[in-house]
Amino acid sequence: MKISVIITLKKDVLDPQGKIIHQTLDGMGFEGINEVRQGKYFQIDAKEDDKKKAEAKVEEMCKKLLANLVIEDFKIIGTQ
């Protein structure tokens, strides 16, 4: 199955990239943007046909490697 996860910075954590992208978009004439937040996206293709099991596995990967829960949150957004 292919499991998609997004990893985002926690709410109060500074997102330097988002900030600069925001400034650049402003400079390019895109008006009315309140905020841009950047995150990471992973698509993991795992040999596992059980949706629950696959998601549990990916959750573990997030906790152990993909995300640093000190500053990031993760969310599984799709499984197919």
């Binding site: 330097p16 990239q17 600069i20 992208i21 650049t24 400079g27 390019m28 950047q38």
Partner: protein, 227 residues
Amino acid sequence: MNSSVITFPGSNCDRDMDVALKKFGFKNKMVWHNDIELPKSDLVVLPGGFSYGDYLRCGSMASKSKIMKSVINFAKSGGKVMGICNGFQILVETGLLPGVLLRNKYLEFICKNVFVKINNKDNSYFKNIKKDTLELHIAHNEGNYFCSNEQIKEINDNNQIALYYSDKDGKVSEDNNPNGSIKNIASVFNKEKNVLGMMPHPERMIDPALSGEDGSIFFKNLINNLK
């Protein structure tokens, strides 16, 4: 010869490039990214560094800055434009040069001396250089050159590959590929060969007390070719 070095927010090899150009006889001007017009130049250089922090994609935001419109026009009308390291990344983002620069294969920043083999000497940048390989210096996180199969054929057919990573005798192999670049490509031209992008930093190789001197060969030759 007049040269211009563009300073973007986050550029950090702009001074080094200024020092190098002046050392070999260029009259160099520093140009701010927010300026609109380029001073009269025989050569425009986009220096290395971390423009806009390398955020989003290296070079992506610098490629949208005000001065780049003039740089693009200058290049399109045949002006010599050279992008070193981050400058190379900016040039691919503007579309002046083919391909992209991805993260290094092992995801590590690499700072060290490398050898490069000159592939095409029929242009103002490498014409009359006697050596076939140069020892230069790299310092980058995203130097892993990539383009599609059709594109690689195209740039090959047009002789657009300027430098390959090699060993000191010019042998090109995976063993001396520092960053995973496709076909060991270290530097490319546009079709017309007036625009050059290269990952290695010749400006860091202009003093025997530092990393070495092959950068001096490059600059000495460059100013002579432009005269």
